[in-house]
């Protein structure tokens, strides 16, 4: 009976797919394992067993499950009221193991990543790629020369097995399970994600990339990423994601922890393009030690609700945070994004540029929290939030919060809200541009401070996504 239900569900899932989201196609499910809906303590144990994890990780998961079960939802939003934890598949295992050749990836899955352009990007401009499908990494590869330099880039599950000392030392040190309900959930059921270790002084000059794909209806994806840049190293990590568009909800709840050891620089670029049925609730945080630089480049397109506030804790003197983000909210979408920076040491600095766009009744919220501790003299804070709205029904809120406990600091904050004007559109259209082209150009100009931070290939892709979002949006 269960099997029949499953089949019916798959057929319905196929019918539910809506065509106007570019990456909204789905594959038939032919999985090694798929958990039932809902989450129990037993299931957490089972996931750990299936992964053959050491006891300490099983204990960590179970402790996290208890925290998750007892913790309330975030009190400051009502948007999560409709999210039903009992309606989610928490663990879906598409294949038995991650492979190093695309030829060994099952055909349907490989075709999906082909359509998303991942193998091509890998050939052309990446130093390494991790491809995660549902709960597990199905493909992973990195350039040999980086391996020889001692760079570790692997999926998180493998890291637990093969690099237990490093993982134990840093895992969950930046974001403990008790941080928030979704961090606790991720800590209980995490699967996949990337682990990166860059040794002292090593500069990884071309980006490493991970791509996360959800395929199943009502699926949850809970990847866990940990990046450690040892002293004076550099790495640029890029992640992308997408999912089929179903009429029921999916949940993506990742935890990303980054440790920037003294003098290192880590750049983390995200282009999220979830389908509009995905709850995207992600906790991202970095700790920057002396003179380290952490850069979050965070692009949020799509999803039903995104709640994400990439954070940097400036722990060492002279550490720097640069956070550049865009959020694009269309009809029935809410991008609740922002950032959190804690200046805990002298002469630290942070630059925050946030751009949000809302159209068709979409809602964007910038939520920011900058704290300067009482010994962090000589610190600098620069925050700039710009919102662009397409119509009267769209909403943009800016909620910046600053907690400054030190006098000898420089703080700048600037916020603007503007509407796409009839005159701008008229001017561009009088030069032959269609309404879509004109709005696309206005938007691409608006987010230029963001897109100039991207590798060229991603900037081009981002512009394509924006154009797609703009189609039929005005008029």
């Amino acid at each position: 009976m269960a099997k029949v239900n499953e089949e019916i569900e798959q057929k319905n899932a196929a019918l539910d797919i809506v065509q106007d989201y570019k990456y909204g196609f789905s594959d038939p499910e032919n999985y090694v394992y798929k958990s039932g809906k809902g989450l129990t303590r037993e299931m957490v144990k089972q996931i750990s067993e299936m992964k053959n994890e050491p006891g300490w990780m099983t204990d960590f998961r179970l402790k996290s499950y208890d925290i998750f079960a007892s913790m309330p939802m975030p009190w400051w939003t009502k948007d999560l009221n409709e999210l039903n934890f009992d309606d989610i598949h928490y663990y879906v295992r598409p294949t038995d193991k991650a492979v190093q050749s695309w030829d060994d990836v099952p055909d349907t899955v490989k075709q999906t990543f082909d359509k998303l352009g991942i193998p091509e990007a890998e050939r052309n401009f990446l130093a390494g790629v991790t491809a995660q499908y549902e709960s597990e990494v199905v493909y992973h590869n990195m350039r040999k020369d980086l391996e020889d330099l001692g760079v570790i880039f692997t999926d998180m599950d493998t890291a637990v097995r093969e690099h237990p000392e490093l993982v134990k030392k840093y895992f969950s040190t930046v974001i403990p399970p008790s941080d928030n309900k979704f961090a606790a959930l991720n800590s209980a059921v995490w699967s996949g994600g990337s682990f990166i270790w860059v040794p002292k002084g090593v500069h990884v000059d071309i980006p490493l990339q991970a791509y996360f794909r959800i395929n199943t209806k009502n699926a949850g994806q809970f990847e866990r990423t940990l990046i450690i840049g040892d002293a004076d190293s550099f790495v640029h990590y890029v992640e992308g994601c997408s999912a089929p568009k179903y009429s029921t909800d999916a949940l993506h709840s990742a935890v990303v922890e980054i440790v920037c050891l003294p003098g290192s620089r880590v750049r983390y670029t995200t282009i999220q393009n979830w389908s509009p049925n995905v709850y995207n609730l992600v906790t991202k945080r970095a700790v920057a030690h002396e003179n380290a630089v952490m850069e979050w480049i965070d692009g949020n397109i799509g999803s039903k609700l995104t709640m994400k506030y990439p954070a940097v804790i400036l722990k060492g003197e002279g550490a720097r945070a640069e956070i550049t983000s865009i959020a694009f909210a269309g009809t029935d979408q809410h991008q609740d994004a922002g950032t959190k920076v804690f200046h805990l040491a002298p002469n630290t600095s942070s630059t925050i540029v946030s751009k949000s766009i809302s159209k068709g009744g979409g809602k964007t919220t910038y939520r920011g929290w900058v704290k300067v501790a009482d010994n962090a003299h000589g610190s600098k804070v620069n925050v700039k939030c710009d919102a662009l709205m397409f119509d009267d029904g769209s909403v943009s809120d800016t909620i910046p919060f600053m907690e400054i406990n030190e006098n000898r600091v420089s703080i700048e904050h600037e916020a603007t809200v503007s509407k796409v004007s009839e005159d701008m559109l008229f001017y561009l259209m009088s030069r032959g541009l269609s309404e879509e082209q004109a709005t696309g150009l206005i938007v691409s100009g608006f987010i230029e401070p963001f897109s100039k931070e991207l590798p060229m290939e991603y900037a081009v892709e981002l512009n394509r996504l924006i154009e797609l979002e703009m189609e039929g949006s005005v008029g």
């Binding site: 701008m424 008229f426 541009l433 206005i442 691409s444 100009g445 987010i447 230029e448 401070p449």
Partner: protein
């Protein structure tokens, strides 16, 4: 080549009638100047012909060749060969001039020209307008001086090669050097294929862009037409002279 034919055009702006039966024909190869005091509907005419949504046509017609302009979207009019050099071009932050120009060029010409091929054409036209190449990297109209804005408008005209070009007070805010550059640009584009409609308050621009016909506009329509000498006469006698004459005739 295509003629611009406007017949009995009535236009409301914010519920008030501004154009009240405007008639004009501009043929390929001709330069027409429309002069008149403030508030007589000169800008309303140019905005209406280009298709701004705030200008509501209540009566009359406007054709570009065989095509009914009033049934076309703003971008279709541009692709059909109508060009308006704006009095106040909009600023679009973050959009480099060269990207905008290439998109406009490809849209109007119906091509997909490669970046480098386009840049060589663009540079040639920029030299003609005595513009520094770094200009192409600046953001569209953002922080441009008055002269730069107008030069950039004429640069677009040179690139898009329209059949009918309307210059809406292109002389306003220009010093004499900038005025000469702009006028030289327009003159170099003159030819049997291009009809030009120059809208201006002052005679000054017409010293550099010599019109074939001069029309005086008052209260939403043309009240007098003549040759270049009419502009000179206006310069000497002012608009009051015409105003008194036409009121005597009972037309205003």
């Amino acid at each position: 080549m295509a003629d611009l034919v406007v017949k009995d055009l009535h236009v409301n702006v914010a519920g008030k009638e501004v154009l009240k039966g405007f008639n004009l024909t501009v043929k390929g190869g001709e330069v027409h100047a429309i002069m008149g005091p403030n508030g007589t509907g000169k800008t309303t005419l140019s905005m209406t012909l280009a298709g701004h949504p705030r200008y509501a046509v209540t009566q009359g017609e406007a054709f570009l060749g065989e095509k009914n302009l009033l049934e076309m979207e703003v971008d279709e009019r541009a692709r059909e060969g109508l060009f308006l050099a704006f009095q106040y071009p909009s600023e679009i932050p973050g959009v480099p001039v060269k990207n905008f120009l290439r998109q406009a060029y490809n849209s109007v010409k119906g091509t997909e020209m490669e970046v480098f091929e386009f840049y060589s054409i663009m540079q040639e036209k920029m030299q003609m307008m005595k513009m520094d190449m770094s200009f192409a990297n600046r953001n569209l109209n953002e922080g441009f001086s008055g002269g730069e804005k107008k030069r950039h408008e004429i640069l677009q005209m040179a690139l898009l090669e329209p059949k009918i070009a309307i210059l809406d007070e292109t002389d306003s805010g220009l010093d004499i050097d900038a005025l000469k550059v702009v006028a030289d640009g327009v003159n170099s584009l003159r030819g049997p294929e291009l009809g030009v409609l120059v809208i201006t308050h002052y005679h000054r621009l017409l010293e550099y862009i010599e019109p074939d016909f001069v029309h005086v506009m008052m209260d939403g329509r043309i009240v007098r037409s003549g040759g270049p000498e009419l502009a000179l006469e206006l310069e000497e006698k002012g608009y009051d002279w015409i105003r008194s004459e036409v009121s005597v005739g009972g037309e205003v």
